[in-house]
Every structure is written in structure tokens, then in C-alpha cells.
């Protein structure tokens, strides 16, 4: 069986949930082989092994240096050359997509981004599912040339714990001078919100212009439900909430079990980021707001009174 390379998505060495999902998908297509660029800790190795990684390729971060994403694409291209994998999976983040784009050109391979599911077809090639045009269409596609390079969105599979061999193999890579042209000169880590990561969260509670700049009712409800907080672009552009939390075409695309839109009208660009959510709820004082066309449950009312009451009741019920 061919290997399926999974570029490990990690923050400072801690493996993210998206990686477990990709390892689970990789197992449908072949033998999962994790590619870890960084200092591999025992915990990280154990985590990868516990989601079925048969092999763990480890690349010394020093080789990659402060040179942004290009060297990572070179690492993968070298592994594609030596391991002839059945596919390469990366997470469909900004960085993951850029690595994927470069890898596709380097290896003369087809690329699919934003996959929300990947299955194996009868002949073993991966078939991807994507959601396009603001979630209005579901597209199934496959790569027809080269090594399939697939960028996978968070929550695309339920991670399945299975024990893999987890054999560690150190790989040395040579990074070209061309890859060193753009260099990171400063890094300012963001403060963690203490809430679930927006694209991974099971519940997202969002606020828009209707908050009038006061996100407290939104945040308090989010915390009562154990949810992530999102925002519309109107709220972000007004400086009420950071851009990292923007949901929509030019922000994050989320697909949680429950999405709550509060004081958000439901413009097409916002829908593009949340339309595929399982259950959608809205609170809006205008009964004509387009958001009500897609909700499973809607309340016509003022969010400043409705949300605190919901929060109080939820907190009470959760005891």
C-alpha cells in the first residue's frame, strides 16, 4: 500500500485536531505517513501514532529557517519524489493552501483546496467534496494528473483513534536559495481567547452590526454554551472585534453543529462563511432580515434583551 503524506498542523509542537482528522482520512487512501516540521516531542509522536501514523518523517526546523512557507513546499516535494505517495494532505489554512499551491507546481500535480470530505474511489484515487458559491453547490472532484495535493478543511472527518507503528524517520532537506527570498522579520503571537478555535468549534455564536459595538452579550452566551465567538465584517470593520474572528468570504468559513447569528443581516458574503452549518439560529430585530431565510429557528427581537435571557437560562439548566 502506498503512503499518504500528511503535513502535520501544529502550534509550537502541539498537534492540532485537524491533523488527527487528516490522518483518519489518509487511512482511507493508504498508509498514513505524518510529516512533522519542527522539534518532535514524545507527546507529539505519541499523538500522531495514536491516530494511525505508520511513519513520522521529521524535519529539523533549523533547515527550514525563518523563510515563510516556500521551504515547507520543498520538503514535501522531496518526500513526494522519494516516497511516491498516493496523495498529500495538508490543512486548508492560509499557510496550508500556499504550501499546497507551490507543491502542485513543483511536482506538476493537480490540487484541490477546501475539501470538506475525501473518500477513496473504486480505483483507489481520492474523491473530494467541496462546497462552493457561498455553500450553494456541492462539488465532487478528483485529481487526474500527478500526485493529488489536497487541502482539507477542519471538521472534515471524525478522528478515529487507531494505533500506528509511528516509526520515526529523520529526513534531511536542502533548501534552495530561491526559497529564501521572503523572510519573517517579526512574530507577534496573538493572545489566546480561551475559547474553542473558530473553525474547529462545535458551536459558534456571532455578532454583527446589531450589537452596536457591545459584544458582551455575544461573548457571555458563547461561554455559557462553550462556543467560539464570530463576527460579521461590519462588526470587524467598525473595530468592535478582531479580524481573526470574521466569518464569511474574506474571513473564516465555519461549519459547526450550531451557528447563532445575532444582529447579522445575512449578506451573501457572510453566508459564504456559515451556510453549511448543521443548525442555524438567528436573533434579529428586523423580521425581513435575509438571515431568517436560512434559519432553523429565529427570534425577532432585540439581542440586547434576548441574549442575556438565553444565557441566564442556559447557565441555570447546565447547573
Amino acid at each position: 500500500m502506498s503512503e499518504v503524506l500528511v503535513l502535520v498542523d501544529h502550534v509550537g509542537g502541539t498537534v492540532r485536531k485537524t491533523t488527527n482528522e487528516m490522518l483518519t482520512i489518509a487511512r482511507r487512501l493508504g498508509e498514513p505517513a505524518a510529516v512533522f516540521i519542527g522539534q518532535l516531542s514524545d507527546e507529539a509522536a505519541a499523538a500522531l501514532k495514536s491516530y494511525g501514523a505508520e511513519k513520522i518523517y521529521v524535519v529539523d526546523p533549523v533547515a527550514v529557517g525563518p523563510y515563510l512557507v516556500t521551504p515547507k513546499a520543498e520538503v514535501l516535494a522531496q518526500l513526494v519524489g522519494s516516497a511516491s505517495p498516493a496523495a498529500v494532505l495538508l490543512s486548508s489554512s492560509a499557510e496550508g493552501k500556499e504550501i499546497a499551491a507551490r507543491l502542485a507546481v513543483k511536482t506538476d500535480s493537480g490540487i484541490i483546496t477546501d475539501a470538506v470530505d475525501v473518500e477513496s474511489s473504486e480505483d483507489g484515487t481520492p474523491v473530494t467534496t467541496q462546497s462552493v458559491f457561498a455553500g450553494g453547490f456541492t462539488v465532487k472532484a478528483k485529481v487526474t494528473r500527478g500526485t493529488p495535493v489536497i487541502a482539507v478543511k477542519p471538521n472534515s472527518a471524525a478522528p478515529e483513534a487507531v494505533d500506528g507503528a509511528g516509526t520515526v524517520e529523520n529526513v534531511s532537506v536542502t533548501i534552495s536559495d530561491a526559497a529564501k527570498g521572503a523572510q519573517m522579520t517579526g512574530v507577534e503571537p496573538k493572545k489566546a481567547s480561551g475559547r474553542p478555535e473558530l473553525t474547529e468549534a462545535a458551536i459558534v455564536v456571532s455578532g454583527g452590526r446589531g450589537t452596536g459595538g457591545n459584544f458582551e452579550p455575544v461573548e457571555q452566551l458563547a461561554d455559557a454554551l462553550g462556543a467560539a465567538v464570530g463576527a460579521s465584517r461590519a462588526a470587524v470593520d467598525s473595530g468592535w472585534y478582531p479580524h481573526t474572528f470574521q466569518v464569511g468570504q474574506t474571513g473564516k468559513v465555519v461549519s459547526p453543529q450550531l451557528y447563532m447569528a445575532n444582529g447579522i443581516s445575512g449578506a451573501i458574503q457572510h453566508r459564504a462563511g456559515m451556510q453549511t452549518s448543521k443548525t442555524i439560529v438567528a436573533v434579529n430585530k428586523d423580521e425581513e432580515a435575509p438571515i431568517f431565510e436560512l434559519v432553523d429557528f429565529g427570534v425577532v427581537g432585540d439581542l440586547h434583551t434576548v441574549l442575556p435571557a438565553v444565557t441566564e437560562e442556559v447557565t441555570k439548566r447546565k447547573g
Partner: protein
């Protein structure tokens, strides 16, 4: 300095967007426009030019059907100096790999110090063309900039990531892509609209670029769409009016019925 801005002509997102029988996006039968996200690229290019205050020239480049000339015209009205339109029947149905190949050949022909792209096209939206372009041209890429600064031969950008904000520096020539966080794009002024009429637009075919038609188009695509289905519209749910707290109560009941509480 020679700045090339890559802009795409896309179906209007507020109109009806659809697929054709061969599963390619219908770009002819629907209304189109300059991708709104590429307006930010034009804006940043114009700002770089204005700041440089020298003989810097901004060329807008698009690969697309006849009607894509509208996208070039809009950019010229905003203030770009000249346009290049690559139009060739063979291009129809091209994927990102083929598009980036054509763009790279065209950019090489115009000559460039700086290539500016949008963050993603509002239709395909993969956001991969800029990285592919940088790869094909063999020059550095600084993508997804939320702020840029060009100083002599150096480009400095700020990039807002999920876990950190990073600053990235590269030397010209390079490929840059900018997000909608870089700041509002200008509207064409009346003067700009009049001036645009006299600005030169060249039309190139694949043959002009020395690109083999067999390398582009649907037949050359590296991916194949097996099916494209409209999602069933969401069925309208229950809407209640809040009266004296009844809305919150009903909402909590709903959440409880779905086991969220």
C-alpha cells in the same frame, strides 16, 4: 518601477451563479465584473506608485473572455496606466495551474518588478494563483498582506495569521497578494473615467505568449469535476417574535430539543 496587477473578471456574486453542462463555471451567460477583492490589489498598486512619485507604471493584466475587458476598464478608470488582456478560446475551463502558467508568461512579457494579486477570486476562491505565480516566476512571494510598504527594492508586509501577526520582508522582484484589510479601494472619478478611454489596452493570444494551447483549458486540467449539485435550499424554520422574554424561552427550548443545552 514596473507594477503588474492581476485582476479577474468574475460572475456577480449577487446575481445568479451557475455551472454549465460540462461542470465549468458559466462566465458568459451571466453578468460579470472586476472581482471586488482585486480592487484592493489595484488600490495598493496605485498607492505604491503615488508614493514613489516617479515614472512607475501600473499595468493591469487579466486572463479571461472578451467581456473581461470590463474588468480592465474599471482598473484603468481607477488610475492604472495600461491594460493587457489575454483572450483565447483555448483558455476556457482552465484551472489554477493553467491560469498561473498563462499569467506567468504574460507577466514575463510585460516585464515586472512587482506583481500584485488579490487574496482570492470571488468565484473560484482557491486563493492559490499568487503562490503558483511566484513559484513559476522563480521570485519570492509575500502573500495575504494586510498592510504593505515598498521602500526602494524592499517590500515589507504585515500578515495577520490565526495565532500570530508576522512581518515578512522580501526583495524585488516579487509577487504580492493583498487582503481586504489593506483598506478601501477608490471609486473611479469622472476624470478617471474620461482618461481611461485613451489608455492603451493590448490583446494577446496564447500564440503571442508562446504558450501551447494544449497546456490550458478544460482538457489540460489537472482535476476533474465529477458532479456539481445545487444544495437543496434550507427549509424555512420556525420564527417567533419576542414578547416579554418569550423569545429567549422559546430559543432555549429549541436548543434543548437539539441537545445543545
Amino acid at each position: 518601477m514596473n507594477i503588474v496587477v492581476c485582476v479577474k473578471y468574475v460572475p456577480d456574486a449577487t446575481g445568479d451563479r451557475r455551472f454549465e453542462a460540462d461542470n465549468t463555471v458559466d462566465r458568459v451567460g451571466v453578468d460579470g465584473l472586476l472581482s471586488e477583492l482585486d480592487e484592493y490589489a489595484v488600490e495598493q498598486a496605485l498607492q505604491v506608485k503615488e508614493k514613489a512619485g516617479d515614472d512607475t507604471e501600473v499595468t493591469v493584466l487579466t486572463v479571461g473572455p472578451e467581456k473581461a475587458a470590463d474588468a480592465i476598464r474599471k482598473a484603468l478608470q481607477m488610475g492604472a496606466d495600461k491594460g493587457v488582456h489575454v483572450v483565447d478560446d483555448a483558455v476556457e475551463g482552465s484551472d489554477a495551474l493553467a491560469t498561473s502558467l498563462v499569467l506567468a508568461s504574460a507577466v514575463q512579457r510585460t516585464g515586472f518588478d512587482l506583481v500584485v494579486c488579490g487574496m482570492a477570486s470571488t468565484d473560484g476562491g482557491m486563493g492559490v494563483v499568487p503562490a503558483m505565480l511566484s513559484e513559476r516566476l522563480g521570485v519570492p512571494g509575500t502573500t495575504l498582506a494586510s498592510a504593505i510598504e515598498v521602500d526602494g527594492g524592499t517590500v515589507k508586509i504585515r500578515r495577520d495569521g490565526d495565532t500570530a501577526t508576522v512581518t515578512v520582508e522580501g526583495r524585488l522582484p516579487l509577487v504580492l497578494s493583498v487582503t481586504d484589510q489593506t483598506g478601501e479601494a477608490r471609486y473611479p472619478s469622472f476624470k478617471g473615467i474620461m482618461a481611461a478611454k485613451k489608455k492603451p489596452v493590448e490583446t494577446w493570444s496564447l500564440a503571442d505568449l508562446g504558450v501551447d494551447a494544449a497546456q490550458v483549458g478544460l482538457d489540460a486540467a489537472y482535476t476533474s469535476v465529477l458532479s456539481a449539485e445545487a444544495r437543496p435550499p434550507r427549509t424555512a424554520g420556525e420564527i417567533v417574535k419576542d414578547e416579554d422574554g418569550s423569545g429567549a424561552q422559546a430559543l432555549v427550548e429549541f436548543l434543548a430539543s437539539k441537545k445543545f443545552v
